[in-house]
Symmetry: C2
Subunit: 164 residues, 2 copies
């Protein structure tokens, strides 16, 4: 069995998640989805946490990858995004899954070779590289792309170690 990587793209209304497996130089899609909880903020946070807890318990990933955030429209949207992101990081940390952050540019670069690719281009490359289902929601493909970015970083690192 290869290394399993779980990616997440948090948001208080839609949180994407995706899992892939790395075996040697082969990357395989396992699962992905979008959590769209209902109700007021506190209930939505419980929805995100409960569903992520369940997926992490099911797939038992070896690593958890998430996008680093530098930009937000304003203080309030940064705060609300922070709520969802904190809850997602908590889910992984409580299950003792090592946590890795990559910038949006690194994630796009890993999927397409271009740091400024569109979300649709990223999704299309994931279909080719991972055999991911066609035209999934962009929150799910963004989450898978974060996982792929860690997979490539890990793969390159292993290759560099083997070459020593």
């Amino acid at each position: 069995m290869g290394l399993r990587i779980f990616g997440v793209d948090p948001g208080s209304n839609h949180t994407g998640w995706g899992v892939l497996e790395v075996s040697g130089s082969k990357f395989t899609y396992l699962a992905a989805g979008t959590i769209s909880p209902k109700g007021e903020l506190s209930q939505r946070l419980v929805g995100i946490a409960d569903e992520l807890d369940a997926h992490l318990a099911t797939y038992k990933p070896d690593a958890f990858a998430i996008e680093k955030v530098f930009y937000a429209k304003n203080i309030n949207s940064a705060l609300v995004l922070g709520h969802a992101r904190g809850v997602a990081i908590l889910s992984a940390a409580r299950q003792k899954i090592p946590f890795f952050e990559y910038s949006a540019t690194q994630i796009k670069q890993a999927a397409t070779g271009r740091g400024r690719a569109s979300k649709e281009q990223v999704r299309q490359m994931l279909e080719m590289i991972l055999g991911a289902p066609k035209k999934q929601p962009l929150d799910s493909s963004d989450a898978l792309a974060a996982a792929l970015c860690h997979a490539q970083a890990h793969h390159v690192q292993n290759w560099a170690q083997d070459a020593r």
Copy 2:
């Protein structure tokens, strides 16, 4: 037994908490403290969540009060504060404790009668009103002040209902 109110003042490095009891027009201090978790962000979030979970299970409050945030130095500090705040709200929501938000001005007003009082003035009034311990950390007194603000709002509401 009166109504128990749990207040929290979240932060990724120091999270204050405090509990008080309202019985008729009497407000009584029960407990307060500061959670100062160590390690990287993900570990600190687990520290905050675990300790809040434990205090909420111990004191079984009827309400959870937290300061509304409108202001942060920059996007990054709003994000990090959002992480701690999201985790705190999650703890309360998972234990199904109703959640109330008050502005900093409302909270200061409730404790001191002045919306622009200093943190030290708020703390001093809590010592007088609640019999809270002297010179506790300001994170703890801010958390207690949020609880007091909800206690007063609730008290006024009850009084208004009784007067009908």
